[in-house]
């Protein structure tokens, strides 16, 4: 199996540890993933801002970079959703179709492709899981409160396998954190307020660590946690699934 790592632009620049954890996690599960240097971004920042036509060269760069791999795995549900859903505006060549079908969110890849049901990790903390909307409602990686009373999903199922990890229940299981790409600056007031409310929910329910499958949401939440100097860590799920004590 020929697997490529897609590390989205902002993860590459600001959260290299998430990329490293992703690589290690895959390695431990017997997958030797490679990181093609030509990759940059999925094009979502421009597209969500209403300029998807500008993103077309970025889409082509993505397709060129990854077309020869069996699977493309990214530690970010939002970027994966973008590739799958919004690469529909370029000609649907076999290569384009291939990367759209084969780009996977990390946990989705572990559970759906590798069939992983347990992980060898230990993390003795109370953890709050932030459901990132594009992973949850976009890729349907978890049930959502609009459609079902169930509170189940790929990420929570794996987290429950981590030794000594306690998953806390939140008042609002799946409310958006308010990052939203350019929204976080164009609608800064509402975005900030949404993030503050999300963080407060985790604090109120005793979380020591906030985790999730999307670094963009986590970056936003971490920014708030650090501004408010809260005793809370924000970590990507790959960092928890590779944790040992």
């Amino acid at each position: 199996m020929n697997v490529a790592l897609f590390i989205p632009c902002y993860v590459d620049q600001f959260y290299p540890q998430v990329g490293i954890a992703t690589l290690q996690l895959l390695e431990r599960l017997g997958v030797q993933a490679v990181f093609p240097m030509e990759q940059t971004c999925c094009g979502q920042p421009m597209a969500n801002a209403g300029c998807e036509a500008d993103s077309i060269p970025v889409y082509h760069n993505y397709v060129r970079t990854f077309a020869d791999f069996d699977y493309i795995v990214a530690p970010s549900g939002s970027c994966v959703y973008h590739v799958r859903k919004h690469f529909n505006i370029i000609e649907q060549t076999p290569a384009v179709k291939h990367v759209r079908e084969r780009t996977y969110e990390l946990v989705q890849f572990l559970t759906e492709v590798l069939g992983v049901t347990s992980v060898d990790a230990e993390f003795p903390y109370r953890v709050g899981l932030h459901q990132s909307c594009h992973g949850q409602r976009g890729l349907r990686l978890a049930s959502d409160s609009e459609m079902s009373p169930s509170r189940d999903g790929h990420l929570s199922r794996l987290l429950k396998q981590v030794r000594r990890l306690e998953l806390v229940e939140l008042d609002r299981y799946d409310e958006c954190c308010g990052f939203g790409g350019a929204f976080c600056v164009s609608e800064a007031a509402v975005s900030a307020r949404m993030g503050q409310d999300r963080v407060a929910d985790h604090v109120k329910n005793g979380a020591q660590v906030i985790t999730g499958g999307d670094v963009s949401c986590l970056m936003h939440l971490e920014g708030i946690v650090r501004r408010q100097k809260l005793p809370l860590r924000v970590m990507h799920i790959a960092e928890i699934l590779t944790a040992t004590t």
Partner: protein
């Protein structure tokens, strides 16, 4: 970089000055500035959303119902002309007088004409978002007609001279203390009295006189049934029934999208509507009107006002499936924290943000961006409108027509250029991280230059990007 940021600011200022009203972001900023009220507003609507959830969860066939409701509406919209004509034929045969209005002006004039034909002076009105959309009240008042909204929430905001902030809960932005204040001013209740029961009773007594004196009663329409030529009005307060039962003339205003083909289909929608709207099993009153009662005149005004144009847009046609339950507002994390008035459109919230650009793209060009595209609206919507997909599509139209600040457009073009060139991207990324690391925090965290920093720290730039680490450690 600073220069570019400044340019961006200037172009945005010019763009905003060209708009004669506040952008959503500006209005939302004002709303959120009152932290406690924002908390209260968010909580009040979240409470309604949770009531709706309990109702939805209690029906195992919920998703099936949504699918059915969606398909019936899709079908109806695909042959709307036929169903409207069938409705007109059957309604006319029942003795209902059917009028057609191409736009708001025509609608308002038809209403006025009917009132004048009866030498009427006083109109009582139950809830109708369409008449809000047509700005009927100011039009009639200018013509010397007394207009009294009889829905409690509508009456409150009518006193307060403001538009509704929610389509189902028009006065949800007001606390009971605010309502007490308004009633004190307009109905002479004791200062400081804010007991909801007392205020409701006061309103009831006040409205009673208006009901009795009304010459004409106007209601909205929730569903018009082609097969029977009748229509259905769903309310909770009974005010619609009281109004139209007492007045010698009943006018019902409906948008063309209110059609359903058959009476059999009605149950699908009445089961979804109240559950989605307020978490009730059904509305307190579900009143069927099929013919005028003896001695009464019954008019139906069928209004286009831009709907046909929306019907002609394949990407946005589905927005006409809306049954105006308001669930997408209650669920929207942005709406809950910015208030209905921040949208500056008759229908606020997610659905308003996909309807309004059809009406005036320039004026409402910031609304499709007043969303994180979280998708909660689409999943809560009882008729499965793909709201967040349409928000994304409106964004592309706005971007394509340059109806956005030039600075934003240029910025996005530059960003795209960099991201399409891997080596340039890697180099610039390194430079940007170094700059961020070496620029004093007072500058990087200045909220005017960098809105991110109003409430958030910037990520700490690491020494190595992932690709730099990978190049050094792998291979």
């Amino acid at each position: 970089m600073l220069q570019r940021l400044r340019l961006y600011r200037i172009s945005e200022t010019i763009f905003l000055q060209n708009l004669t009203h506040m952008t959503h972001a500006q209005a939302a900023k004002r709303f959120t500035a009152d932290v406690d009220r924002t908390t209260w507003h968010d909580g009040a609507l979240w409470f309604v959303r949770q009531k709706r959830d309990r109702m939805a969860y209690s029906l195992p066939e919920w998703e099936e119902l949504r699918e059915l409701a969606s398909q019936i509406k899709n079908h109806t919209l695909s042959r709307l002309d036929e169903y409207l004509e069938e409705f007109e034929r059957n309604a006319t045969a029942n003795g209902i007088r059917v009028h057609w209005a191409a736009n708001a002006q025509e609608h308002n004039e038809i209403v006025l004409q009917i009132i004048r034909q009866h030498n009427g002076k006083r109109l009582v009105k139950s809830k109708s978002m369409l008449t809000e959309e047509c700005h009927l009240n100011p039009f009639l008042i200018k013509e010397g007609i007394e207009v009294v909204d009889t829905d409690l929430g509508e009456r409150i905001i009518q006193f307060n001279d403001e538009p509704p902030s929610h389509i189902v809960l028009p006065a949800i932005h007001l606390k009971k203390e605010d309502v007490g204040q308004i009633f004190h001013k307009h109905l002479g209740t004791p200062e400081g009295a804010s007991d909801p029961q007392f205020l409701t009773e006061t309103a009831r007594q006040h409205l009673r006189g208006h009901f009795v004196a009304a010459d004409v009663a106007l209601s909205g329409v929730n569903f018009a049934i082609a097969e029977t030529g009748g229509f259905v009005v769903c309310t909770n307060e009974g005010n619609a029934d009281l109004g139209v039962t007492l007045a010698p003339v009943h006018i019902a205003s409906m948008g063309i999208e209110k059609m359903i083909p058959r009476l059999d289909h009605l149950g699908v929608y009445t089961r979804l509507l109240a559950r989605s709207a307020t978490g009730q099993l059904s509305t307190t009153y579900t009143s069927h009107f099929h013919r005028p009662r003896p001695g009464q005149e019954l008019h139906v005004i069928i209004v286009d006002n831009g709907r046909v144009e929306q019907l002609g847009r394949p990407d946005f046609r589905a927005s006409l499936k809306c049954i105006r339950c308001g669930a997408c507002m209650n669920t929207c994390p942005v709406y809950r924290r910015s208030g209905g008035h921040s949208y500056d459109y008759t229908v606020p919230g997610p659905i308003g943000s996909i309807l309004s650009p059809n009406v005036d793209l320039k004026k409402h060009s910031t609304l499709p961006f007043a969303s994180t595209l979280c998708g909660s609206c689409s999943d809560v919507c009882p008729v499965k409108i793909d709201i967040h997909v349409q928000l994304y599509k409106w964004r592309q139209i706005i971007g394509g027509q340059k109806a956005m600040p030039a600075g934003k457009r240029v910025g996005m073009q530059l960003l795209a250029k960099v991201l399409a060139r891997p080596r340039l991207y890697a180099r610039l990324g390194r430079v940007a991280r170094r700059m961020l690391a070496s620029t004093p925090s007072a500058l990087t965290h200045n909220g005017t230059i960098n809105p991110w920093a109003i409430a958030r720290e910037m990520p700490e730039p690491p020494k190595q990007s992932f690709r730099e680490w990978y190049a050094a450690n792998q291979k």
